[in-house]
């Protein structure tokens, strides 16, 4: 990090907090604080929806995943455009016309209070945990760069976000998201351009793609019908569809964004805006990760991406073992570089075979290094996927670009955190505090308590983040955790809007059955987590309909 990088990063942090406070002025009631006065335009909401979804985990985790595993993860987003259309046809009109603050509030209008309370509680549990992981991921960045403790980073990032969300509410969230999304797009295009420009002389973009293709890192479409294989075309299209329906339709952190629309048309357009842009954006991020993989054929990668763990290894491992391992790694990297150049020159099958053998040899040495770290750490699992991209940024970006890309990672994290703090506070305030404890507070009282809940959720997120380092690949952790509840909650909303026959008892016990089904599938089968949402939603819908038909009053609230 050069002084210029620090100036860029510092300017971003001070600027975004100041702008957030300025943009959020003038809140007088909960309607202003939670829904920005219901006056927002589609493009602002659309950018905010996108910024809320693209967390730092997306930026850091998926580039690392593309480096190690390729672009298969893209299929998760294939269901998104279809989900947006379905939501515009179904849930969005119901939410908008019901003039609710939370998605779960609508369930009380349609079913009963217990269904609303349970779904809102599940949101608070799952999103409350996920927001901690969202906060944790960027802390990896600074721990690599400066040797700072992750705790310090967590408190700086979480604290600065809390300041403007606590003051300005949803108006601050949306307007800072607009700015942050602009910064994120600039950063994505910049990273992509730099990764291409840094390929060695005589080794073009096409050569890079050929090399990546040889290792199957460009493979996106896996047509396997297997339910256990990760990221197949079908799990992406079907599982991804259900995941996106649940996330955008039933997760308050997204619903709250489009409930802020000045009209139903504005709300719908904001989602369709995402339907157009999300897949290309994710494609660029993943491709950048693949290009970083190619880049490290011609520049020496570290033995371990986590510099802190590398230092620990140097302190605790036998120096002769470590030196021998480092020597084997350097030799294997050099052999892979030569093989890659040979393949780029000839493009013949023999050269491809030689290159793949060299790649396997390098990965075998890496595997030995990982096992050594795990042994030194008493058997604790070691995964440094999330450290790959940050290491690349600080090692090879110059002229303030490292600071700018780090600002992008901060922007991605803070935009997601802001939306989540705001939505967690909204669900707590509307679905619990005002519903059960203090329904008739003055506007000033409600505003004060809303800010208090925002601050408390921010503090809770910081606490969870401090424990998140023990979890695995952050991107998978977030999606996996949400998948335990998401599909079942989606099933309840499907019962609410798709069939007039669904009763409140059917919805409530159907929800229980759906969660039990997901827990059983998760515990006793190897089905990939993207299918959990499908299982949950289908079981809730089927059980809910059956119970509704059996109940004395089959027709729901008339």
């Amino acid at each position: 990090m050069t002084p210029l990088d620090w100036v860029v990063l510092g300017t971003y942090l001070v600027g975004i907090v100041s702008f957030g406070v300025w943009a959020g002025r003038g809140n007088k009631a909960m309607d202003d604080f939670f829904l920005a006065g219901r006056k927002m335009r589609w493009w602002a909401i659309g950018l905010s929806v996108m910024a809320t979804q693209i967390s730092a985990i997306t930026f850091v985790g998926t580039t690392g995943q593309a480096y190690t595993d390729g672009m298969r993860f893209l299929v998760v987003y294939f269901g998104l455009p279809f989900a947006m259309v379905i939501l515009c046809l179904t849930l969005v009109p119901f939410f908008y016309r019901a003039r609710v603050f939370t998605a779960y509030e609508y369930l009380e209008q349609r079913f009963d209070a217990r269904t609303r309370t349970l779904t809102s509680l599940l949101f608070l549990l799952s999103r409350g945990m996920a927001v901690g992981v969202t906060l944790y991921a960027p802390s990896l960045v600074l721990s690599v760069i400066l040797g700072w403790g992750e705790s310090t980073t967590i408190l700086v990032m979480g604290g600065s976000t809390i300041v403007y969300v606590l003051y300005g509410g949803n108006k601050s969230v949306i307007w800072t998201d607009v700015v942050q999304m602009g910064i994120i797009w600039i950063g994505i295009l910049l990273c992509f351009g730099v990764a291409v420009a840094q390929l060695p002389a005589g080794f073009g973009f096409r050569d890079a793609l050929a090399l990546a293709q040889t290792t199957e890192r460009l493979r996106v479409m896996d047509p396997s019908p297997s339910l256990t294989a990760p990221y197949t075309l079908w799990s992406g299209l079907i599982g991804g569809l259900f995941l996106m329906l649940a996330y955008f339709g039933c997760d308050q952190s997204q619903v709250q964004r489009y409930l802020s629309g000045a009209s139903l048309t504005q709300s719908r357009l904001s989602l369709l805006f995402n339907a157009f842009l999300k897949v290309p954006m994710q494609f660029l991020i993943l491709l950048t990760g693949v290009l970083v993989f190619v880049f490290y054929h011609f520049h020496a990668p570290p033995l371990l991406w986590n510099a802190v763990q590398m230092r620990r290894l140097q302190e605790r491992a036998d120096p002769r073992d470590l030196a021998a391992l480092q020597g084997r790694f350097t030799a294997a990297h050099e052999a892979r570089r030569r093989a890659a150049e040979g393949y780029a020159r000839s493009r013949e099958a023999d050269a491809a075979t030689a290159y793949l053998a060299a790649e396997s040899a390098l990965q075998a040495v890496r595997g030995d290094a990982v096992r050594l770290v795990e042994r030194v750490n008493g058997g604790a699992r070691y995964n440094d996927t999330n450290y790959i991209f940050p290491t690349y940024i600080v090692s090879y970006l110059r002229g303030g670009l490292a600071g700018l890309v780090l600002a992008v990672i901060f922007a991605a994290a803070m935009s997601t955190l802001a939306g989540e703090f705001n939505s967690l506070a909204t669900a707590t305030m509307i679905d619990f505090y005002k519903r059960y404890f203090h329904p008739s507070g003055s506007a000033a009282h409600d505003l004060l308590v809303s800010r208090l809940f925002t601050g408390l959720w921010g503090a809770f997120a910081c606490l969870i983040a401090l424990q998140a380092g023990r979890l695995g690949s952050a991107i998978e952790v977030v999606n996996r955790f949400g998948s335990y509840f998401y599909g079942s909650i989606l099933g309840v909303f499907a019962l609410a809007v798709l069939t007039p026959r669904a009763s409140s008892a059917g919805a409530f016990y159907g929800l229980m059955a759906g969660m039990a089904a997901v827990a059983l599938v998760s515990r006793f089968t190897a089905v990939h987590f993207l299918w959990y949402n499908v299982v949950g939603a289908v079981v809730v819908f089927a059980v809910g309909l059956a119970l509704s038909a059996l109940s004395p009053r089959a027709v729901g609230h008339a």
């Binding site: 908008y96 494609f283 027709v555």
Partner: protein
């Protein structure tokens, strides 16, 4: 039915492009299918 118990429907903006909402949805789906086809082509292309 509960979801027919609607509030007074707030005034809405006119459909912004393509004349009707079904046409807008169709455009989104066509764009999604086209992007998937392009991704498939990108993956399978012999570089």
């Amino acid at each position: 039915m509960g979801h027919s118990k609607r509030m007074d429907q707030p005034p809405d903006d006119p459909v912004p492009i393509f004349g009707t909402w079904p046409r807008i949805y169709a455009a989104v789906i066509v764009a999604a299918l086209a992007s998937m086809a392009l991704v498939a082509l990108f993956s399978a292309w012999a570089y």
